[in-house]
């Protein structure tokens, strides 16, 4: 049902699928054209709503993977087994299809170039998605101090945005570190095992430089990383977290 746009309301709008890109075996990036999109800030998310033929609706929240400067809005979605929404988005959606979205949503887990100070991004699994938006935004606006990204995945084949992150490291000088927790390619030079206090201490700027720290991932990952960073001496007020988990996907 269409309704007129009201100020102060989040209106559902139709996004047309432009392109789907396979990031990993379980993850796809979906580009949408949204004629009524008012723009977003890096780190915000959208709600996606699917309606079945019998009227049943399922709604989920997804982080925006594209930068504010990008032409299309991009969501990167991981297929959760037995999920209600993500299997449809990852496996069934085709270019030209339209789905309902509303947003942008959230103002807490947001980074803008006006926020000064060293930037540290800590991602677990698909928690890297909002950081793609932040890093692309940083590169687009020449956002000051070189960001650091610490990204934990199970294996190299589970790493989302592999090529783009390597390029951000090589071409733009972003300090990108990968931690693999379960399997490592032969000759793997990065971190093996979970992100721990020692690794965070090595990757993070010292507390005296008061880096802005963003952590996104599953609950256990985020809590462990935040606790370790506070133990190292970083102020809780400099740490912003976003949890995601199996909400029924």
């Amino acid at each position: 049902m269409a309704r007129a746009a009201l100020p102060g309301r989040l209106n559902w709008q139709l996004g047309r699928v432009i392109e789907l890109t396979e990031e990993t075996a379980r993850t796809k990036s979906i580009s949408f054209a949204l004629p009524d999109w008012a723009g977003h800030r890096a780190g915000q998310h959208v709600d996606v709503r699917l309606t079945a033929a019998d009227g049943y609706q399922a709604q989920r929240s997804y982080s925006i993977a594209s930068a504010p400067e990008d032409e299309y809005l991009v969501l990167t979605v991981e297929r959760l087994e037995n999920g209600e929404v993500s299997p449809y988005l990852v496996d069934e959606l085709r270019p030209g299809d339209e789905i309902e979205l509303r947003g942008p949503i959230g103002g807490y887990f947001v980074w803008e170039s006006s926020l000064e100070g060293p930037l540290l991004l800590v991602a677990g699994g698909s928690g890297v998605v909002p950081f793609r938006s932040m890093l692309r935004h940083w590169a687009a606006v020449d956002g000051g101090a070189m960001p650091r990204l610490l990204y934990s995945s199970r294996s190299w084949s589970d790493v989302i945005y592999r090529e783009e992150l390597l390029r951000l490291g090589d071409r733009d000088g972003v300090d990108v570190r990968f931690a693999l927790t379960r399997e490592w390619p032969e000759g793997w030079q990065g971190h093996r095992g979970r992100v721990d206090r020692e690794l965070l201490g090595e990757v993070a700027s010292p507390p005296s430089e008061a880096p802005r720290i963003y952590i996104c991932g599953p609950t256990g990952f985020v809590e462990a990383a935040a606790d370790a960073l506070v133990e190292i001496g970083h102020k809780p007020s400099r740490i912003r977290t976003e949890l995601f988990g199996p909400t029924g996907g």
């Binding site: 709604q59 929240s61 949503i105 103002g107 807490y108 609950t219």
Partner: protein, 85 residues
């Protein structure tokens, strides 16, 4: 059950309050702790959504939809202040 955080209900809260609420500051009526809505613990698999204090675990907010009408109980909060602008 694994909790999410207040970021997960940002859209629903925007619908109810007409403004961005994850940066709003709330004060827990039980333990007095002050924090951002984004930092609260959200349990969305209950019949409805239960929001708890990350410090003491008290129920701060309950969101339910009844026959298409959204109901919100803020009884566990002493204060809830959105950031202006």
């Amino acid at each position: 059950m694994e909790a999410l955080d207040g970021n997960a209900i940002a859209g629903d809260l925007f619908e109810l309050f007409g403004t961005e609420m994850t940066t709003a500051t709330g004060v827990c009526a039980s333990c007095g702790e002050t924090g951002h809505v984004a930092e609260l613990r959200v349990y969305s698999r209950a019949p409805g959504t239960v929001v708890r204090c990350p410090t003491c675990g008290s129920v701060l907010i309950v969101l339910v939809e009844v026959r298409g009408m959204a109901c919100i109980d803020l009884g566990g909060l002493n204060r809830l202040e959105p950031v202006n602008g």
